[in-house]
């Protein structure tokens, strides 16, 4: 049989990003219960939501634990330092749960100069990109009667800079689709006052708000907007309203907020390692933990699917180059959809390292008796994923 294949897994299990890793234990124990898992040893490290720490534990995994393959998930703050470390060390790494632009561009020396961008040898990433989220958002807005005036809420962090980027972010695409964008500028996370943005939006007659704030900032913004009589027809927000708890924190004002949906129990995909459907996995999670499903569950699961798949196609599992080749050659039908590094839908510079997964749009709907459900309302780009309703304007 030989030695077990060593997988390193880094995620933010404590600290501000811990919600992303909430399902880790569930997924890991699921994985461990599989037959195929007998060939693997998974070493889990906590980044403590700290990029410095993420890089450190990645080094430790490579150097001390001598892992064969690194897996890493959740936000550029975690994926980028780990991927940079692996790339420098020549250890293959698969990452996910970060839009590919902040992942790819964020690791380039000069993010402002596309001519200097270089592909990676050992880093692979599967997730969607800004072009997808823009397409989904605009399609959602198209379902409503609006003046096509959009206000942007982009913080000065990995995600915000990517979303607001004048070349690869929202601005060029929105203008080409006939939207006007009011972008007051990058603000720092944990800002206590958004009246400048609200005033700018009011002045620009904004009817649609979009952006990628962190949860406390969106709560502050949204509450202040209501107080100051700013009532847009649609608010499509990334990151801040990813998790149901964050929406619940908004009280009843969270109803009909919209967001991109990367994974849900109604996604028509099945796991390649245990055959469970997306719905099965979500139900199992709720049964095991008593908690509502969240989107990262599918992607963390898929991370292990891809690892198993790639290692299965590698003859010498201690040779990083072979593993990298195997990953690059993947054609995997996973629980988050098809993963293949064939460059589909990507600009040339990112084609070797990124695989895009499907994206649809959803709205949070207030349930009778409290709590929210995420209902898919837009699937033009991915007709195979069923919708559960249509886009409704904010009340």
């Amino acid at each position: 049989q030989g030695a077990k294949i060593k997988l390193g897994y880094v995620s933010p299990q404590s600290g501000p990003l811990a919600a992303f890793a909430e399902a880790d234990n569930f997924i890991l124990s699921n994985f461990a219960s599989l037959d195929i898992a007998k060939n693997f040893e998974v070493i889990v490290k906590d980044s403590q939501s700290n990029p410095n720490r993420a890089a450190e534990v990645a080094k430790g995994l490579i150097v001390d634990d001598k892992i064969d393959l690194m897996l890493v998930a959740s936000t550029p703050e975690t994926t980028n330092p780990v991927a940079t470390t692996c790339e420098a060390e020549g250890v293959p790494v698969i990452s996910t749960v970060a839009p590919w632009q902040p992942y790819f561009i964020g690791q380039q020396g000069n993010p402002g100069d596309p001519g200097s961008w270089k592909p990676f040898d050992y880093s692979f990433h599967f997730f969607w990109g800004l072009e997808d989220v823009i397409s989904v958002f605009t399609a959602m807005w198209a379902q409503l009667e609006t003046n096509k005036s959009v206000g942007g809420l982009f913080p000065n962090d990995g995600d915000g800079n990517a979303w607001g980027d004048p070349n690869v972010g929202f601005p060029p695409v929105l203008s080409s689709k006939g939207y006007t964008l009011t972008d007051p500028g990058r603000y720092q996370n944990l800002t206590d006052d958004f009246s400048a943005q609200i005033n700018a939006f009011k002045q620009g007659n904004v009817e649609i708000v979009t952006g990628v704030p962190i949860p406390p900032d969106f709560t502050t913004f949204w509450t202040q907007a209501k107080q100051q009589g700013f009532n847009p027809k649609a608010a499509s927000i990334g990151k801040a309203i990813l998790f149901p708890q964050a929406v619940e924190a908004l009280g009843s004002t969270g109803n009909n907020l919209s967001s991109e949906v990367w994974w849900s129990p109604s996604h028509p995909f099945k796991s390649s390692i245990n055959g469970m459907s997306a719905g099965d996995v979500a139900a199992a999670y709720t049964a095991a933990t008593g908690k509502q499903w969240t989107q990262p569950i599918g992607f963390v699961h898929a991370l292990f699917e891809l690892a198993v798949d790639a290692m299965g196609r590698t003859s010498d599992t201690s040779d990083p180059d072979q593993i990298a080749e195997a990953i690059a050659a993947a054609q995997l039908q996973s629980i988050v959809g098809r993963i293949a590094f064939d460059g589909a839908g990507l600009p040339p510079f990112a084609q070797t390292n990124v695989s895009k997964t499907p994206l649809v749009g959803g709205q949070w709907r207030l349930k009778e008796g409290g709590g929210y459900d995420l209902v898919i309302v837009e699937n033009t780009d991915q007709p195979s994923i069923p919708t559960g309703g249509t886009m409704q304007p904010l009340g």
């Binding site: 700290n50 410095n52 890089a55 330092p81 470390t85 420098a88 020396g109 200097s116 800079n161 990517a162």
Partner: protein, 362 residues
């Protein structure tokens, strides 16, 4: 009264002579270590040595200069960003660019000191923190090194770094390992130079003046010590050293972002814990402190938040029950000092055996 022998001023003790030899041996050992140690050990030592260097500079500032700064992350961050900026934008080799890290921190220290020296005690501490925040927020606007997103060192720059080729062939290792060894050697040099330099400084008359200023500023001025200049000296020297270390740390990490490089927890709080747990105002203290810190981290890091909780509790306990730190406890009991700076007057009347009080109280 006749002199029975001429007077002399001595600092060395038996322990210090032994310690000096051991230190020399240790330094040599550290330098040749890459020949037979594992990469894991080299990396752990890199972490230990760089944190130790940061701790020594904070110790110089707070323990010897009485300047309790909680804004050292400003210098780590600016040093790191100076490195990334010159490497990425000007294409300079990272190794010489490290010097710019120190220089950038030095430059930043001048306005910082000009401002913060107007304030005392707690006001001083908080103003250094605010200044560090201002620098962090300003650097986060610097778009060509990634703004708030941060950036990575291009592989083209790190791959062909000075000396790495030579190290690769010397130890027959891959380039990632060669870079580790290079960074490690630089860290060894920096730590040895820092401790040596600090010890040298304390043994010059400036070291005496530092102690005098810390004890009573008025009296120090009245005997001709330029207290203001001592404060500037200490502040600028530790800024330079902290910036240099910051550059080195991020050279090894190869990825930077404002939140990471200007982290008050990583570069100031931990450093303060290290110094205080070990014993502030001694060169030995930070050395003990880093060992405790590293041991804790190794033992507890996998327990996430528990690790930080234990670290916090130990810091509190030391402050409450052993304010002079672990080394203070040890040295009070045993009287041992590895880096003695006390000048002892000997000879003359003191060489008469019938002076009962003439024994060393220090």
């Amino acid at each position: 009264m006749a002199h029975s022998s001429p007077y002399a001023s001595l600092t060395r003790t038996r322990a210090s002579r032994v310690a000096g030899l051991v230190a020399l041996g240790l330094a040599v050992l550290l330098l040749v270590l890459p020949a037979f140690a594992s990469r894991g050990l080299i990396q752990d030592l890199f972490f230990i040595l760089t944190m130790l260097t940061l701790a020594q500079f904070w110790n110089l500032l707070a323990g010897y200069g009485g300047l309790v700064s909680i804004g050292q992350q400003a210098f780590v961050g600016i040093g790191a960003y100076a490195l990334f900026g010159t490497v990425i934008l000007a294409g300079i080799d990272p190794v010489p660019a490290l010097l710019l890290s120190g220089l950038a921190a030095l430059l930043l220290a001048i306005p910082t000191a000009y401002f913060a020296f107007r304030l005392q005690g707690a006001y001083f501490a908080i103003s250094t923190w605010v200044i560090a925040e201002v620098v962090r927020l300003s650097v986060a606007q610097w778009k060509s090194v990634g703004g708030g997103t941060g950036t990575s060192l291009p592989r083209s720059a790190t791959g062909s770094m000075w000396f790495t080729q030579a190290i690769e062939t010397l130890f027959d290792v891959r380039s990632a390992a060669a870079r580790d060894i290079l960074a490690y050697w630089l860290a060894v040099l920096l730590a040895v130079a820092t401790i040596g330099g600090l010890y040298w400084l304390l043994r010059t008359r400036r070291g005496l003046a530092l102690a005098a200023v810390r004890d009573t500023m008025d009296a120090a001025r009245s005997v001709g010590v330029d207290a203001g200049r001592m404060k500037w000296l200490v502040f600028l020297v530790s800024a330079f050293g902290t910036g240099l270390t910051g550059g080195l740390i991020y050279l090894q990490k190869a990825r930077i972002s404002p939140d990471a490089a200007f982290s008050v927890t990583d570069w100031t709080a931990y450093v303060i814990f290290i110094v205080v747990i070990g014993g502030i105002g001694t060169i030995e203290g930070p050395i003990i402190g880093i060992i405790v810190f590293y041991a804790l981290q190794t033992l507890l890091a996998d327990y996430g938040s528990w690790y930080l909780m234990v670290l916090g509790l130990i810091g509190i306990a030391v402050m409450l029950f052993a304010p002079r730190g672990l080394w203070g406890l040890f040295s009070d009991r045993t009287g041992i000092e590895l880096f003695p700076v006390r000048r002892r007057l000997t000879g003359g009347l003191l060489s008469h055996p019938h002076h009962p009080e003439s024994k060393d109280h220090g």
